[in-house]
Symmetry: C2
Subunit: 433 residues, 2 copies
Amino acid sequence: MSEKVTVGLLGLGVVGSGVIKLIENHQQKLAHQLGCNVQVKRVLVRDLDKSRDVDIEEDLLTTNPDDVLNDPDIDVIVEVMGGVNEAKDYILKAFTSKKHVVSANKDLVALHGPELQDAATHNKCDFYYEASVAGGIPILRGIVDGLSSDRIQKVMGIVNGTTNYILTQMDSEGVSYENALKEAQELGFAEADPTSDVEGLDAARKMAILGRLAFSTPVDLEDVEVSGIKGIELEDLQYGDQLGYTMKLIGYANFDNHELEINVQPTLLAKSHPLAAVKNEFNAVYVYGDAVGETMFYGPGAGSLPTATAIVSDVVTVIKNMRLGVTGNQFVEPHFKKELKTSDKRYAQYYVRLFAKDEAGVFSTISALFHDQDISFKRILQTPVNKGEVAEIIFITHQTSLENFQQALEKLESLDAVLEVKSYYKVEGDAIS
Amino acid sequence: MSEKVTVGLLGLGVVGSGVIKLIENHQQKLAHQLGCNVQVKRVLVRDLDKSRDVDIEEDLLTTNPDDVLNDPDIDVIVEVMGGVNEAKDYILKAFTSKKHVVSANKDLVALHGPELQDAATHNKCDFYYEASVAGGIPILRGIVDGLSSDRIQKVMGIVNGTTNYILTQMDSEGVSYENALKEAQELGFAEADPTSDVEGLDAARKMAILGRLAFSTPVDLEDVEVSGIKGIELEDLQYGDQLGYTMKLIGYANFDNHELEINVQPTLLAKSHPLAAVKNEFNAVYVYGDAVGETMFYGPGAGSLPTATAIVSDVVTVIKNMRLGVTGNQFVEPHFKKELKTSDKRYAQYYVRLFAKDEAGVFSTISALFHDQDISFKRILQTPVNKGEVAEIIFITHQTSLENFQQALEKLESLDAVLEVKSYYKVEGDAIS
């Protein structure tokens, strides 16, 4: 074993700069743990002349990927360039050159994780990607190692900081979705084009990765049903609050009897739920195991240094494996087979808000309609609006199958007395009222 | 590699029974991960005839430790018997016979962890003890692996479920310490003799273990200053609540510049702190790292199956190491040297409640006294009691050194106008008021 291990970086953006800083600042701790130094030797960048947030010798930089991928001195490749196709090509090349890879690329891992894992195993290389889910939170290790003996039944995550920041602002400051988004953009918590975040796509990628590891089953990105927070109305947060719930964008995955349900959707969460206290840009993943019960892993979901922590901790693991001569042994379990759960087997509670004519008998008509679908109500709020001509009705159902709920909704919309079904959301947990 | 790995158990109490059940119930998942079965072969018990909470063949049980420790078929010993001296002897014998050990014994690990680790390494054996801290929460892995690249600055833990249950009940139901304790005993959350829990000793053991791993420094149990929650008064929780704080028994450890501060004490925690939402018998450990910032690990701190999850996950790790031929390589870092922080370097905010004569100028005398010690106030509450003859004064200080605070307290108690300094507590975080 040489006195140093040499790392090559693909990409030097916000996260790549964090990796450089962390390796430099924590050299003493790394050396103590590993018995050798860790050195960054080459860094692939798009533009040599761009000004950067980190001190780095100019001759380390290159625009030619082969300078990194084919350098025989480099043992570990850290991929922090983002994007899918190019990054995938480079990683596959790295494996062919028998280099280990640590990636922070959720898009890539969500789409091609199993294929990359296979290539790594085939070449006796390590492939780790802790930073691809929930930034600095060591959640993949938590699931794969910490809860290895348990059968995980359910994973729920607040895995997108932008949307959690927006929802927290709407909740605590009473501002509209549009204003909260604008503020998030000004503070750098949301990008100029926030589509991937607010439409739930970013969260869906992380849930696909979490689902695979939690349930040892193949989860494809298209298995994840997605609905985002775009245009969510303050009124629903406020009624939720009144009834004991907080609105969160929740990634939800459960697996039993080889049947998988996986989705991302705005959800009214009972305030007593551990995830309800997760505020602003923070992330958290709640894991329910058969034996362990409720656990939760909380921390920063993004950011230069937090994300770098996850990456460099993966590098530490790879170097330990190198020293022990056990790289390429990730014990990827034989996969369990999987079916997607049909809507008659997906159970949840729902919140519904609607406007109806404020007439005698309207509520009992609605109630009877739901009763016919085997759905009963848990909480009801009714308020007259517009001088008593219109009633705003809010209710929360008991557990129902999605199939029954969808049928009830359809019938509800066709009722004469119902003017508009304004919104409906999934509800998790029991509010103490 | 044989087709099964054989485990011997020392002890068959609540946790031991959980281990038996978990290995049985999750055999399929274990076999999928390990490529072999896991079998419990012998179990050391004190009494062969005791009725038990788990189905187990009678001829697996023995009262002779050598039947477990000297059985050549047994690869891994799980120590769940508790106690210190006997357990230590057995574990040392196990290492001598080249058996790996997984222990849930916080008392033992807190007192003799480093010695046991040395014996393990010397014999090329594994020694894991995830279950000794915070039951089912994989916090030791979180620190050792997940945050391996970071420099951990601070660890704060709610690591005793009994006291957290009592404080939660006092807070939410407004009951006295005595009644909350009685209820906890009736529900099985507190033992008939609750001393070790309510006086903070149990939490201190866990903090010693956490401190060692988080800071790579030798922490002895006697380094941990302890004060418990025994006789804590409801009034202080209520005033705390009014000012935006929640009372928790917090294990606190910080390390900088080779100086360690480590203690367990009731603390008023700002409600916005992630640990403030940890209720009832749940545990959580908050870790602040130089690069990652705030993280928190939450889950059940005790219980048969949750604790068994941590133990069997350790067994899984040991078996993976056996298969890879890398046991006895725990990369225990060279230790950093340590000094205990003196009181002039320990900074905190404090809450003080006192009774004083309700006279003109009393408050300004008190305020001047603190000002002379360089301590200023952040919040003040003053209420007349006993028909205006007595004033109850509550204040929260800004950050001060412990040395200055102790001097101020001493002077405060000698003031003529001060009738009684009723209580004082450390304060963590900033309440939003």
